[in-house]
Subunit: 348 residues, 2 copies
Amino acid sequence: MKINLALAGFGHVGRRFVRLLREREAELAALGLEPMVVAIATKRHGALFSSRGIDAVEQAERVEKGLALEDGIGVALKDARAMIAKTADLWEPAVLVETTVLDITAGQPAIDHVRAALTAGMHVVTANKGPAAFAARELQALAEDRALSFLFEGAVMDGVPVFNLVRETLPAARVTGFEGVLNTTTNQMLVAIERGEAAAAALARMQAEGIAEADPSLDLEGWDAAAKTAALANVLLDARITPQAVEREGLGSDIEARVRQAAAHGKRLKLMARARREAGGVRAEVNLREVDPASPFGALDGPANALRLDTDLVGPILITQLEGSLTATAYALVSDLVRVARRLRAHA
Amino acid sequence: MKINLALAGFGHVGRRFVRLLREREAELAALGLEPMVVAIATKRHGALFSSRGIDAVEQAERVEKGLALEDGIGVALKDARAMIAKTADLWEPAVLVETTVLDITAGQPAIDHVRAALTAGMHVVTANKGPAAFAARELQALAEDRALSFLFEGAVMDGVPVFNLVRETLPAARVTGFEGVLNTTTNQMLVAIERGEAAAAALARMQAEGIAEADPSLDLEGWDAAAKTAALANVLLDARITPQAVEREGLGSDIEARVRQAAAHGKRLKLMARARREAGGVRAEVNLREVDPASPFGALDGPANALRLDTDLVGPILITQLEGSLTATAYALVSDLVRVARRLRAHA
């Protein structure tokens, strides 16, 4: 099945995604999927559309050399919105691949892009947590009304299946709550402090190594974990919350003392995310908790994520990502794309 | 979609399964599935067929009182083979639900039942590891030839998705190997010995509590873990092995000394299952290994299972079942049944 792709955002994830499509061309064809990139919209390198297809790997190489997208191989566009309108006009089924840089306090511009694409009749796959964290209900309803797919497997666990796992492999079961370590930057920082590094030194080192952002506040203050918690709660527990509604604690100025205090009685400090159905709705929180080192969350070192899903029929299931990577996040988009194609074929 | 079910085996799992269908009737209907039990074949309580449907929960209550299946509500049958022939003759799509007691050294009678059902045009869902451990390739080819489903999610992790997870949520990725703790009886025994219980006393207690079998040798000698390893290797790594081809170690007479020896240098002894693609094919083994207590496998206490899948695109993914249960195993059959219905609908 031929599917047209329009890429909003063409950073590390977007570029790894188009290379992965190339590398796995044969496997995808065997699954009945023939994707063609027809448009790319970037923030600083221009936006391009060609109904005959764009060699996206070639464009990725240009962008990595600091060049703009190539002139003359298609139509230049104003922005992602214009790209969505052009792509939606084509005859083949079309998918928006959303990987723009996220404003985590508002979920933009991803939410606007997703809404515009669904309204125009395009399916959406995204690695952004914004749409699910802020507008899951609205966007899912929009997609359902129009029999379109809106998928975001890469938003929370970097490609380790969570949403597809529940949707596809746990039918007729209910998720009653979850708990997890969802932010790797803070987890690596806590481990570094345990090992004797000062908090400021650990952060500087991690920034130098590219593990922590230049502005690390969204990770350290718990916003990233809160956004993931909201996305999980909205989708798995039918909550209607935003990251602002998640009770939130971050790594404060007393973090070294708290790590030492935990260690003094044989525990490890972890930034835990939790949500649970309660009488008045869903309660969601992100906070520092002391856990046993010989427990599933306590055993997490380095860039690992883990999520325990509490289910009514299978009991608690724990999913751990031992090594996140750019490839894993880009792969989440590929696996969502395969899901779009399977659904299209089933309804063809 | 109306689907006829024929049950081969009506023990704890089979009876929990029919009650689960009743309890989740509304959820299953919402997923488009209307299952009707038309036949039950037991070893000691008779075999029954009625094209108008059988109240399987009522029959479960009879069996639990020690009674035979009810006379006069249908046709009495000789055995499961006769049941398969009768059910396959009906017009609606039909599924064999295989939960007979397994001969783990040969995979029978489950393999014969699965083969007969597929040959007669029936789909198969089973909680038995025998068919996948001994005859995965043959039975999968048979199912594929006839566009039938052959599913066995309950065979290895008691309802925690493994096979469906790889099939449905990791398309175009490759599993390169796996490692896990797959047998809960030995794991609970090793934990008991760590806590100071003598091996013989721990076994007797576990037998009294219904955790260990009256004949525990298949668990203790590693046969159960080897059968699960073979099933995983055959399906996820395209191996063509049987449990006999798995290098196998069990809990020997020196087990207390080995547990103490591990503890003396801060480790825990675990019965680990592993398989990996190698130049000459797939190498699979089950053996006792010392692991760090603060590691994913080392942190496993009690009736927990855990499996690490090594993948090329998402890296290693760890799935942990924290509490196995009869309901979880029965649910695996339900989730496989939903998968059969989804596939039937997609091809309708």
